[in-house]
Subunit: 493 residues, 2 copies
């Protein structure tokens, strides 16, 4: 390790530490902050983003990057990721970075009021500001990276994956959906309707159970918290992960499965390679990789027949009532129900990708300048109808439902479906490698699966790109066929 590389490691550690501060303040803004703190919080995040950006684009970084030499795969990958981060950061002025932070914070704040009122007009000028700055950023990044503007945005979330990679996968899925969705609906309609467990389901009981389930999945609360927020997420840092969920006393599925979903994210952060903490190579391998980890826990493991059979009696012991409603088979019918709906976060596994495909197309058009913010509600309604044959009755259940765009995240959405596909592929590989895995899940035991994920995914950090990570773990780059096979097995047989 030469001096230039040592200096870079120190600098990137400091930049990552500032990122940790922002992550904590972001969690606080969603889970704790009183409404009156919003304006100051926006400034705080903007200043931290500016400081971090300045540290990344300082003249001595370019000099050190020229002179740096690293040995061995981890440090070589780390240096390459430093170069990538520097290239992206120098493409943007400090003014643009801070302006975006401010615009995003301001828009998100207005959106929080506008969404429940279904008032797109109220947030539209703020979103126009966000889109304008995103387009400016995309264009600056495109010049610096040689990517198209939208690909340059996508690359921030899942490095190395471009729209051209996603399009054929999404086209294939759209064809699959046209045939599979009516068939799944018909099969479901021919079966008895699931029994509805009878509430109330006290929040305190849900919270304690959610915590216990996440502990069974492998989460250690010496390094974690579980709280509530309107839009559940996993934030914080690798040694202090912050999960949130949402409780309603008349149902428990959303909160508990939501906790398991966020637990999947949290386990990834907790399992990142500690010797490379705060270095680019020690970070998660992108958002599609991250989503694969939440979905392998929530969708692949927790909704499996084996796990539901174990979970049922646990739920029954916690909530009481009719035991038949808590049989594994009934929970499967409840939690694997296919339904064409308006809300992405409530969608089943089959229709979920349709929501993502819609957003992918719309955000691409917004960034390209082919769609104006004013036309977004109409384009949303048309697009959803084309994909699922339904039209949202209002914008609350349409283009106002997700925080992403209002918080300045364009290019993120494809990661959800790439992650779902990766989760199916990784689960298939884990099952092949671990003959006892499903048996363990049937005992409520995630240990074999988690061990395999620790070795095959979490502990790798960003050593490999997404496709190389998939190849190392499963023998192939991302291939949607495992996901379709999974859906066929679960919904069409």
């Amino acid at each position: 390790m030469n001096d230039a590389y040592a200096r870079l490691k120190d600098r990137f550690a400091r930049i990552a530490t500032i990122g940790e501060c922002s992550a904590m303040l972001g969690w606080d803004a969603s889970a704790m902050m009183p409404p009156g703190g919003g304006a100051a919080r926006g400034e705080q995040l903007a200043v931290l983003a500016g400081v971090s950006h300045a540290m990344l684009v300082a003249p001595e970084v370019a000099e050190d990057l020229s002179a740096a030499a690293a040995e061995g795969p981890w440090d070589e990958a780390n240096l390459a990721l430093m170069r990538r981060a520097h290239r992206r950061a120098t493409a943007m002025s400090a003014d643009l970075v801070e302006a975006m932070e401010r615009a995003n914070s301001a828009c998100e704040k207005v959106w929080r009021e506008a969404r429940p009122q279904s008032n797109f007009a109220a947030v539209r000028p703020w979103l126009e500001d966000v889109v304008r700055l995103q387009r400016e950023m995309a264009s600056a990044l495109a010049s610096a990276t040689g990517l198209s503007p939208y690909d340059a945005l996508m690359d921030a979330y899942q490095p190395g994956i471009a729209a051209a990679d996603v399009e054929p996968v999404f086209a294939a899925y759209e064809s699959f959906l046209k045939e599979a969705l009516p068939r799944a609906e018909a099969i479901q309609a021919a079966r008895p309707a699931p029994l509805q467990p009878q509430g109330p389901f006290p929040t305190e009981v849900q919270r304690a159970l959610g915590r216990r389930l996440s502990e069974r999945a492998g989460l250690d609360y010496e390094h974690a918290r579980l709280d509530e927020s309107a839009h559940p997420f996993c934030g914080g840092t690798p040694t202090d992960v912050r999960l949130t969920t949402r409780y309603t006393p008349d149902a428990f599925g959303q909160a508990l499965l939501g906790i398991l979903h966020e637990t999947g994210h949290a386990l990834y952060e907790r399992g990142l390679p500690a010797p490379y903490a705060r270095q680019p190579v020690g970070e998660a391998a992108g958002m599609a990789a991250h989503e694969s980890q939440s979905l392998i826990i929530e969708m692949q493991a927790a909704r499996s027949d084996a796990f539901l059979t174990w979970l049922g009696p646990e739920l029954h012991a916690a909530f009481g009532g009719d035991a038949a409603a808590y049989s594994g088979a009934n929970l499967g019918r409840l939690w694997r129900r296919v339904e064409r709906g308006f809300i992405r976060t409530e969608a089943d596994e089959i229709t979920y990708p349709a929501h993502v495909i819609l957003r992918f197309r719309l955000e691409r058009a917004l960034i390209a300048g082919d769609l104006s913010v004013a036309d977004l509600p109409g384009a949303w309604a048309e697009g959803l109808h084309a994909l699922l044959g339904i039209t949202p009755p209002d914008d609350r259940r349409g283009c106002l439902q997700d925080i992403h765009w209002y918080d300045g995240n364009f290019g993120y959405f494809p990661s959800y479906t790439l992650g779902a596909m990766a989760a199916a592929q990784l689960m298939q590989a884990a099952r092949a490698a671990l003959p006892g895995m499903d048996g363990a899940l049937g005992q409520g035991d995630f240990t074999p699966l988690l061990g395999w994920l620790r070795t095959s995914v979490h502990g790798k950090g960003s050593l490999l790109g997404f496709q190389d990570l998939m190849t190392a773990a499963t023998g192939r780059p991302l291939d949607p066929s495992d996901f379709m096979d999974h859906l066929r097995a679960r919904y069409l047989s």
Copy 2:
């Protein structure tokens, strides 16, 4: 306003914004963070302190300070405070600043374990590290400011107040105490013992009541939160204040009066002059001024006969039981009870200054090098015995009880007693200016008092030094005689 001053205002606003981030992360560490997050949090605060320090000592600041010109009392005071901050910051190297942050975080963490175990030996090496760095800082600040090393530390908490100002005040109080304490005890012994309200006092009821009382005192929860921590405090920022308290189900006084105490701090922050937000002149006028605001609410207003007469029925309605235990007179006997005890935060108004005088002497000796950390437990026991005639049975109730030193705050303690004295003096002035003030408190109405404090103290920010602030508000600089008069009236008549 010339360009240089405009640039300085912008820079100081950014520095203050980074301070807000640190304040929020500090609150989180005490009120929310899981234990495993401690090490990373220490790094986060250290990096922010380093960034902030670097922004303050950058070469262009010295240039701008030479060239800056400001007009009008507020901007003139602001520029003078900028020069003061720069002088203090340039006295310290970035390495020292970060080393202190790390040592303080590490020591505080060990102290959190050592205190309940009464294990001074466990934390001693960490405290030695903290003291060593504090002495290094004190010496560097002394060279830059012309103050003595200990005065240079005090000056960070209450600018313009030195040990030489405190010594005669404390000596006068020690004389007063020698005579007043036995008399107060004799008077108390001759009265009937207070009735003890019978619990349990559910935490939920205490929390709701505490919140309602702080609202009556003028706090707006659009800009505030109330949580729990082992060591109650008021943190956060002027638009997002974070209060904490501690609940025990077998008593309610500590939690409720603690909330009112922190509310006093919070109201000060909320009332600072918004046009100078994030500027030095827009900050509170030091820690003695701050403590005067918590104590004017907790000790002067909330423990007054007038307010207790209103509060009694409110408490009885919340907790039930024997109404006689909630009469104003009985609450007065309960909450104005004089008792020689070991714990500063549980001390009554008469003995509290003795705890402060002890710490003032010990920390001065530690900084001067006249006392070693190893000898601290013994010196503590001796010193407490000389002041109050009692000896702590263990270090948990001795030198381990307060967080301050273990978190690197030396020179802070005198502010508590200066604040108590200032509170009495301000209350006397408010009473003279507002003939209806006590009548309003008797209706649970803080509005007149708060209005006077907003104008006379909060809204002044740091426009005036502490003594000038007292003179403007009361006609005199700090004068302990109002405090002694208050104690005579409350305890000796």
